[in-house]
Symmetry: C2
Subunit: 200 residues, 2 copies
DNA sequence: CCACAAGATGACCGACTGGTCAACTTGATA
DNA sequence: TATCAAGTTGACCAGTCGGTCATCTTGTGG
């Protein structure tokens, strides 16, 4: 991780934010292959500055991705208050999918490994996803054999289709979402194969 | 495209097959970023030989991907004979997903553009997918508001989750498939948003 | 069995990558 | 305002990439 958040000089703090914003945009546009040079350029700083703030590219990715965990976790947290648990889960998938654009959630599993603060955010997201699923199940809105793991896998797939947007049909992923969600309903559910994924 | 299939010297023909096989494996392992050098190494030839057979990396990709179209088209063709149209569609998704591993089907849309023979294979795949959907709909096995485009989008998503395999849960994508397929059934289907995608 | 075209080779090229670092600039403190 | 650590810079490095090409090897028709 970067050195503790203590005492950043004002210009350094500003540059750090510029870099994170630039990285966000660049990763969204070019995927995880976006180059450090491009990010630096977009932020209006020299390449060396990137490495002063983030020791490696991996670390930069981890921080950006950590932000996504936090943001998704917040969304899930709000939706846990909803009076319509089933609708909340649907909303969660929709908001999360759109928010992540074509950012891959998986890499993030790997990249994140070993970073305690990012791991914590991830765990919170997992816990809240489980809670959303539990509530929807208790309300009888979704089948009882799916788990938070299933939902997150489905979210990854959904995010992927959001990334496949074309100009002609920018919303075809929403059709995919509805089909998926209909498949989550308890009525007429076929048994799911394989072992039930362990709780995250 | 490569020069017409006429009159390859025996060693050249052998090397071409070795290269295609190596490319298949390497693309499957490393994704589309697999390097030409690695493919050449795996095939046991020098890098220059790759470019003798395929003018650019794009062309090599197009040929490999074209093979997938053919193979998928063949699967769809066989399944069109099935007496259980709904089961055939499910089978198609399962087989296609597993066969493609984490090969992305989309790139292929782009890479393929402009290559007549590959385009032809793609069109055949599209046509057969539409036919599979039509048959399943006529049999009342799946909802009437989905189209071949929806199915191929879903297939892309499914392929993506196959690529997310972990050692612990190598088959979690099958749970995803079943959920999806339950969502395709006509009972209790929610209306799909947006314009119906045009026939491919 | 020979001649020669088709094919294979690998050093080489320029562009790009993540990452380093000595020299320079600047914000904050006393 | 003088000082100096904190921060910035961009040339530079080693490595990789797709792609080229002069040179060498080899399959094959006569």
């Amino acid at each position: 991780m970067t050195l503790s958040a203590r005492s950043l000089r004002s210009d350094a703090a500003r540059n750090r934010e510029l870099l994170l914003a630039a990285a966000e945009e660049e990763f969204a546009k070019r995927g995880m292959d976006a180059s450090i040079a491009a990010i630096a350029r977009r932020a209006g700083v020299a390449k060396g500055t990137v490495f002063r703030h983030f020791a490696t590219k991996e670390e930069l990715v981890a921080v950006v991705v950590g932000g996504h965990f936090v943001s998704l976790g917040a969304v899930a947290g709000e939706l846990l208050e909803s009076v319509d648990p089933t609708g909340a889960l649907l909303e969660f998938l929709a908001v999360a999918a759109e928010q992540l654009q074509h950012q891959d959630l998986v890499f993030l599993q790997a990249v994140t490994e070993g970073d305690s603060t990012v791991t914590e955010c991830r765990n919170q997201l997992h816990a809240r996803t489980n809670a959303l699923v539990d509530r929807a199940q208790e309300a009888g809105g979704i089948r009882s054999d799916v788990t938070g793991s299933d939902i997150l896998l489905i979210l990854c797939a959904l995010v992927h289709t959001v990334g496949l947007r074309t100009e002609q049909t920018p919303d075809s992923w929403r059709r995919h979402l509805i089909i998926l969600f209909d498949g989550l309903r308890p009525q007429g559910a076929s048994p799911l194969p394989g072992p039930v994924p362990e709780r995250l």
